[in-house]
């Protein structure tokens, strides 16, 4: 009998990590698809792997899903080694691929039942689980309809239901909303958040959409050419490039005002020149109000105020010199 690996600890609070990799490498056709990947994902967390197409995201997911054996290094998923316990890994994860393929000659219920059977669920459990999933994902009214009549969004939801039909502890998603129109992307993101909360399921999302990462992910790893270049919470990553900034255009020069602003606890840096004050901070309404109140105490007036909030795309640019090409999304990343 195979034994579970129980020595892996991850995360800050000593929680047992659901996924841990150490020096994980994968070579394909003589090239390194991923190189020395070290990540640790905690239970219930939504972890994003953000990078351009061809950066190694999908290869990493294939290894974590037990589909491809790593060339070297270790990956432990739900206490099972991906190299020696692939079957157990596959039993404990759910996977939703970028290109959703569903047997469209079957009904939604039949699709879920087939996958539940392949996962070895007994009949009684299967039926209850399928009913519950169909209801929670808003597919109950379509349960007896052939999948070929589903909209793209409904198909994604069904693919999501299929991926979690066996109650996995980790859900692996590869570009989950690629190709969906904007409003349907929003709806699917909301569905993912609901699934994460209701099922207490950890998620690993590989995406080339920084917006998707910002909407969904608790922590993010930036990947480029098979290497993780930075990882952490969104705030940490944005702070690492100096955070966001607020630029005040004043009607006159006021060095004292600039010094007073610099003294505010949430301000990271201030650059003052002539009638402009450039404030590095994480802008939120409350803090911006504090700045405008402060300005009123000085004999100056604000002519204009502009805010720029750093994005994960900016972070990626800072570390790689190029923006992420968001080819899968309707909104192309701005080229700046």
């Amino acid at each position: 009998m195979q034994t579970a690996i129980s020595w892996v600890q991850g995360g800050q609070e000593g929680k047992m990590a659901i996924i841990t990799t150490y020096d994980l490498c994968l070579s394909r056709e003589g090239k390194k698809a991923i190189d020395k990947i070290d990540i640790s994902i905690e239970p219930g967390e939504i972890f994003g792997i953000l990078g351009p197409k061809g950066s190694g995201k999908s290869s990493l997911l294939h290894v974590l899903a037990g589909l491809l054996p790593p060339s070297s290094g270790t990956a432990v998923v739900n206490d099972f080694d991906v190299l020696t316990q692939q079957e157990r890994v596959r039993r404990s994860v759910g996977v939703m691929f970028q290109e959703v393929f569903i047997d469209d000659w079957l009904t939604a219920r039949e699709v879920l039942d087939l996958h539940a059977q392949l996962q070895g669920l007994p009949k009684g459990t299967r039926e209850k689980r399928i009913e519950s999933l169909l209801a929670q994902l808003g597919l109950a009214d379509k349960s007896s309809v052939a999948v070929r009549y589903f909209t793209p969004l409904k198909k994604r939801k069904l693919a999501l239901a299929r991926a979690v039909v066996h109650s996995p502890e980790v859900l692996i998603l590869d570009e989950p909303t690629t190709g969906l129109p904007r409003e349907q992307q929003n709806e699917f993101w909301a569905t993912l958040i609901k699934v994460n909360a209701n099922f207490k399921i950890g998620m690993v999302i590989a995406t080339s959409s920084w917006e998707e990462c910002e909407k969904l992910c608790d922590r993010v790893a930036l990947i480029d050419r098979g290497n993780i270049i930075r990882q952490g919470t969104q705030e940490t990553l944005k702070d690492s490039i100096g955070g966001s900034n607020v630029v005040l255009q004043l009607d006159r020069h006021s060095p004292r005002l600039a010094e007073s602003i610099r003294a505010l606890w949430f301000v990271k840096d201030v650059k003052s020149s002539e009638k402009t004050i450039d404030i590095t901070m994480v802008p939120n309404q409350e803090q911006v109000n504090k700045i405008t109140s402060l300005v009123k105490r000085f004999p100056v007036n604000i002519v204009a105020m502009t805010m720029h909030q750093s994005t994960l795309n900016d972070v990626f640019y800072k570390h790689t010199g190029s923006f992420i090409e968001d080819a899968g999304s309707e909104e192309k990343v701005r080229a700046r």
Binding site: H62, R88, R91, W105, L114, L118
Partner: protein, 248 residues
Amino acid sequence: MINAVIALARREARRDLSDKGKVMFDIAWPLMILAVLGFGVDAFAPPKAGLPYWAFLGAGVIGLLVVRQSYSFGRMLEHEARVGYREYLVTPVQRHWIILGSFLGRWTVQSAIALIVLAAYALAYQVYSPYEILSAAASVIISVGCGLSIGLAVSVWVKDLRDHTLKSWLAAIGLALISGVFFPVSDLPFHLEYLSYLSPLMYMVDGIRGSLIGVSMVAPVYGMSVTAAIMIACLSIGTWKSDKLFRL
């Protein structure tokens, strides 16, 4: 694992049956060839192997159906290995069981289609003996299995079968010409007659013809045995090497 294989076989059967137009076409075209070519040539051609031409052609038409099923299965596997099967690879079911499940599902439906054609052929020839009908049915089922397993083995070994459509059909026509589909093997030039003994299709067609109407080059049991042996060999190779089929 048996439950998983059965579930996958049922899935494949459902897929085959979902396209009712294709099912109808697969039943209709062999019968049309038999009616048009068989009875058409019968009007002016001398009997073949002591049989009216349409009666001789009946087994050959089932052989052609098997060739089409074989090619179609190979193409389907190749397509599925790129997209559809990937969804099953993320389950604990191993690759060779996925392939076996698909094979069994398709074997069931395609055998049923071939048996309908056989039934029409038997009725036209007025074969009512249960032994001959059962024997011919067994021969058809084994032939369909053999054809599908060859399709599986070819799809495992040949990269991008769709790029070889012309070659595939030329090979199929060549096989048909030397396998006693349209005329007896004994009518072939001497050296081609020997070549025909290397053709799996010859054993399939000969087995069906021998079982149903008693005219064959080799004993029907021998033909069926060779067909079954080829089926087992190709199925074993196809499932054993199924990793080559999947491209992640």
